[in-house]
Amino acid sequence: MALILEPRREPSRAMVLAAPLIAVVATLVTGAIAFTLLGYDGFGAIREIFVSPLLSAYRWQDLLVKAAPLALIATGLSIGFRANVWNIGAEGQYILGGLAGTGIALAAYDMEGGWILPLMIVCGILGGMAWASIPAILKTRLNVNEILSSLMLNYVAIQLLYYLMRGPWKDPMGFNFPQTRLFTDWETLPMAVPGTLIHIGVPIALALALTVWLLIARSITGFQIRVVGLAPQAARYGGFSAPSTTWLALMAGGAFAGLAGVLEAAGPFAQMVPAFPTGYGYTAIIVAFLGRLHPVGILLAAMVLALTYVGGDTAQTTIGLPAAAIGVFQAMMLFFLLAADILVRYRLVRRRQPTGAPAPTAAGVPPQASPDTLAQEARAEGVAA
């Protein structure tokens, strides 16, 4: 007896859409059990993290503010992921976006005018794009794997942030704390809803997600992204060059992450601090996949992941859950999503060994070449041929 994965003829559409929900539910259940076994109030933790924030109007503001950067970054990443360009460097692009905006803010410290904030935002976007252009150049010129180059640049970005905070950009009046001055009123985001925490980054994230949805569905550029992701060779045949797609994907990812960065810097932070990177760039990867790379799904998924941040904070004080619990929940969500996706495309079956044939066959044989895989290939080739 052996358990093997057998490809399904056609994955069910309903299950493809249900997989994220199943992943969330499985995360809740497993999380509750695991934390109970660790001696915490597991079910209380689930309630505190995933339910309580939804019941308080004040918490909702927090949720939206946390969801906005996640949704922005994930929307940008989803463009690249659809085209099989794996930009893991959103965290660094987010930091560079924040730094570029901060640079303008510090330079314009003693100036006034409505032009300052828009200029900060434009520079933030350009900063994210500039950081993303490094993996793009390496990929298109030297065929360097963008996963590695973009990921490693995250650490470079963090060191750059630390250097600027401790050196050139340190607040001269700041008692030697490694942080910049506070931004002026001209340099901070206005609120979308007066009297709340909800800044204009929230409606911007919503509007951009919907715009991207339209562009992916209807524009020739969106078509290019989809074709490259589904069939790279057909994309070349259709006249879409691979380098241009790589650039497009990384620039979109960089621009959105950079925008999220500058909006965070000019919004909730209103200055630049070493604690600026909070892992949004990584969490957004989970958001993108949990949202099925679809902008509307991403908006929903961003809310779910924002819950883990907001609720996780509360649970630390009310239940004494460790801070790492947030990471555990986020990781479980990705893990269960990937598992559910596998089971949507494959079926787990028990395989009997036929009685006639000798059972222990070459264990070291690569699975691609084994006769059973041949049979599966034949099966997958389609039945109506």
């Binding site: 524009s219 589904l230 070349r236 070449a369 049979a375 109506a384």
Partner: protein, 508 residues
């Protein structure tokens, strides 16, 4: 003596289709039996049932007279059924021997295996070096690996699925010799093909399938190929009608001194290729697969630019530096050999697949946005113009059968009325009726002033379609010869690499 294999009332249903309906036939020991039918007639399903890949819903399989249940390919092999698939599963970077060992259920130690392999090679006069790396081998040699793999199991029934589609005429003859020798030794052979003259030359009996049912069991030696083709399609076969004459217009595609490096690691580089195609003319390029055909096609279509030298002119305008889209705007349409994932995106609708290559010439975009209505209309006109069997423009390309998808792709390109059509394997895997339709459409395009370049491994097709034929071998193109003046043997020799100069050691 009971038949080696007998099928009784085999029925297999899939959601929406009945692939096989009470199919019965038998194969005697030592008999070479043909299984004939159009694409979609149910041949593949039937073979998969015999080889244990799928299970029949109804019916019985008798093996040497006793009913058997074949649950997996492993069980089929244990009974003595061997199969050589149409598409090989080989690791290019490994040797022949390693590949054979990988495909076996329980490979013996290397030395013992090598002795066994050499014995099989000697017995059946198969030329193959067990220590060569697979990527250095011709397609014919690769097929021999699969045959050896099957023969090592000492099969009593060998299933060959479309084995000759990639072989030169000489290689086909060698293969037939091997099969005849096997049959003389008592091994039954189930031979699947749609090449009727081969079946006449090789087989003693034939079962003809149409729409999942057996329509006829006959002796192929007693029927004309035309009669058998008509049994297959269940109607009379249309001949491709050509305009007589041979008056061609101006040169529309001129290629001079075209060279390009092969795709690493195993591609063939193109060497100094020159030819011209005039308006109204069809130039055929014959050759064994892997001799630079795919490279030539991608260089002509503009998909490959790196390291390409020489010149390409479309209607007299130098076009070497142009990309795919610019060449399409100039009037060059191309259809690569691979349909799924190259000429079409299986996971997209037919409408989207129309946008893929027709968006410029059919103006399917405006201001960077897709004109969905226009794209849908164009897709619909291709579907009706080329009688594509599909539920509509929203159907996924991957849901169409191979032949229907090919009709759609050819229709999509031809209905853009290109100045130059470059096409590889226009009817590969397509049934006789659809093939005749596609060929007629190409002839009509030429008659309307288009210039057509056809790359194909099917010599019969080239002889029927082309005005002139050239042969590509190891990236070099022979000079082209008028179709009336060449014989199949001459072309076959050119395909095998015999140019009147000493043949390379490659020819085996």
């Amino acid at each position: 003596m009971p038949p080696r294999l007998e099928l009784q009332g085999i029925t297999k249903r899939f959601p929406g289709v009945t692939a096989n309906e009470s199919v019965s036939f038998s194969v005697a020991p030592g008999e070479i039996h043909a299984l004939l039918g159009e694409n979609g007639a149910g041949k593949s399903t039937l073979v998969k049932i015999i080889y244990g890949v799928q299970r029949a819903d109804e019916g019985t399989i008798l093996w040497d007279g006793a009913p058997v249940s074949i649950g997996s390919p492993r069980e089929a092999r244990a009974l003595g059924i061997g199969m050589v698939f149409q598409h090989f599963s080989l690791f290019e970077a490994m040797t022949v021997l390693e590949n054979i060992a990988l495909g076996m259920d329980n490979p013996p130690p290397r030395r013992e295996l090598e002795a066994k392999v050499r014995q099989v090679l000697d017995t059946y006069h198969l030329a193959l070096d067990p220590h060569r790396d697979v990527h250095t081998l011709s397609v014919g040699e690769r097929q021999r690996i699969e045959i050896v793999r099957a023969l090592l199991q000492r099969p009593k029934l060998l299933i060959m699925d479309e084995p000759t589609s990639v072989l030169t005429p000489q290689e086909v003859e060698q293969l037939f010799e091997t099969l005849r020798q096997l049959a003389r030794e008592g091994c039954s052979i189930l031979y699947i093909s749609h090449k009727l003259h081969e079946i006449k030359a090789l087989c003693e009996s034939a079962t003809i399938l149409r729409a999942g049912k057996v329509v006829e069991t006959c002796d192929p030696r007693e029927h004309s190929t035309r009669a058998m083709a008509e049994m297959m399609i269940g109607g009379s076969l249309k001949d491709v009608k050509r305009k007589s004459g041979g008056e061609f217009g101006p040169v529309r595609l001129a290629v001079d001194g075209l060279s390009a490096p092969g795709e690493p690691p195993f591609g063939t580089s193109l060497k100094e290729i020159s030819f011209e195609v005039r308006a109204g003319e069809i130039l055929g390029i014959a050759g064994v697969a892997g001799n630079g055909q795919n490279e030539l096609l991608s260089v002509l279509s503009g998909e490959r630019h790196h390291g390409v030298t020489g010149s390409i002119a479309i209607d007299g305008v130098p076009s070497l530096a142009l990309g795919v889209s610019a060449r399409r705007s100039r009037g060059l349409a191309a259809v690569p050999e691979e349909r799924n994932g190259h000429a079409a995106v299986p996971g997209m609708s037919l409408t989207d697949n129309a946008v893929l290559s027709a968006r410029r010439r059919k103006k399917l975009t405006v201001g960077g946005l897709i004109r969905l209505g226009a794209a849908r209309d164009f897709a619909r006109s291709v579907i009706s113009g080329f009688s594509v069997k599909a539920t509509g423009p929203a159907a996924f390309a991957g849901s169409l059968s191979g032949g229907n998808l090919q009709k759609y792709i050819m229709g999509r390109e031809i209905m853009q009325t290109p100045a130059v059509l470059v096409v590889s394997q226009p009817t590969w895997g397509v049934d006789a009726g659809a093939a005749a339709f596609i060929r007629q459409a190409m002839v009509d395009l030429a008659a309307a002033g288009g210039a057509i370049l056809v790359v194909s491994q099917d010599l019969d097709e080239l002889l029927e379609l082309s005005d002139r034929i050239a042969v590509i071998n190891e990236g070099r193109l022979s000079r082209s010869l008028p179709v009336g003046s060449v014989s199949v043997e001459e072309i076959g020799l050119l395909m095998g690499g015999v140019h009147g100069e000493p043949a390379t050691a490659e020819a085996a």
